[in-house]
């Protein structure tokens, strides 16, 4: 578990003082975004897959608890929703940029 500090000073120092923001070239930014999106989508896929497997196990009458099936389904649902939220934010930012008058 990450230790959370509620002292505003230490938080500010962490963001501004200790870790200077690295300058990213557009290519680097795009690659890192691509990797992050890829990872997120893979996680969603894994969660959905786990949910499918659990449901199939239940349907086949194998040894699995009903609540574990439901919990896996909920995990998959939340992961998907989180990814959709991030996607919405990204699209929003893109459209904001495209609307810019030049």
């Amino acid at each position: 578990m990450e230790r959370v500090s509620y002292k505003p000073n230490s938080v500010m120092n962490n963001i501004i003082g200790n870790q200077p923001i690295k300058k990213l070239t557009p290519a680097e930014a795009q690659t890192s975004f691509k990797v992050a999106l890829n990872d997120a989508l893979r996680q969603v896929n894994d969660a959905q897959h786990a949910s499918t497997i659990a449901t199939e196990k239940l349907a086949r009458g194998e040894k699995i608890d009903l609540h574990n099936v439901m919990i896996t389904a909920q995990k998959a649902s939340i992961t998907l929703q989180a990814t959709v939220e991030v996607r919405n934010k990204v699209v929003e930012a893109y459209q904001e940029i495209m609307r810019m008058q030049v």
């Binding site: 578990m1 230790r3 608890d65 609540h67 574990n68 919990i71 909920q74 995990k75 939340i78 939220e85």
Partner: protein, 151 residues
């Protein structure tokens, strides 16, 4: 520790309470069982089963956190470490015509008290409900977090 750690803890609790419920069901089903196991040429009645519940800390992450002296380790929920037999004496009932009666006409019945089992059953059911509530609260917190920045 992932975002689903709370889910995993609640899930372990649900599994534990389900197992408790199964043990209660087994005890209730065997209230009159006179032939539980065959020991030294005679039948022993069924012995009441009990679960031993302990925190589920036996994971690498728990040991690592402990070794590093961190106190913010939550563990991984709960687990049933073993199912033990209740060693209290069997009930003796006078029933000379029973097939398992001894020479004096007494039958040994399992050491199960249906009232105790009912209490255990209610406790397991309510604990299960409480953990489902915890789980839903955890889920609602996550969903609320997704609403940050909306609208």
């Amino acid at each position: 520790m992932t975002i689903f750690h709370g889910f995993n803890i609640s899930s372990s609790a649900l599994t534990t309470q389900r197992l408790r419920m199964d043990v209660v069901a087994s005890n209730m089903a065997n209230v009159e069982t006179t032939r539980g196991k065959f020991v030294n040429g005679e039948w022993q009645p069924y012995q009441r089963k009990m679960v031993v519940i302990q925190p589920n800390e036996n994971r690498f992450s728990s040991h690592l956190a402990k070794a590093m002296g961190r106190t913010d380790n939550l563990g991984n929920g709960v687990k049933v470490s073993k199912i033990v037999d209740d060693q209290s004496p069997f009930k003796l009932v006078y029933q000379p015509d029973h097939p398992d009666a001894n020479a004096e006409g007494f039958v040994r019945l399992p050491n199960i008290d249906p009232l105790k089992e009912m209490v255990d059953m209610m406790s397991a059911t309510r604990s299960y409900e409480a953990n489902v509530t915890t789980l839903n609260a955890t889920k609602n917190m996550l969903l609320k977090a997704l609403e940050i920045g909306k609208g």
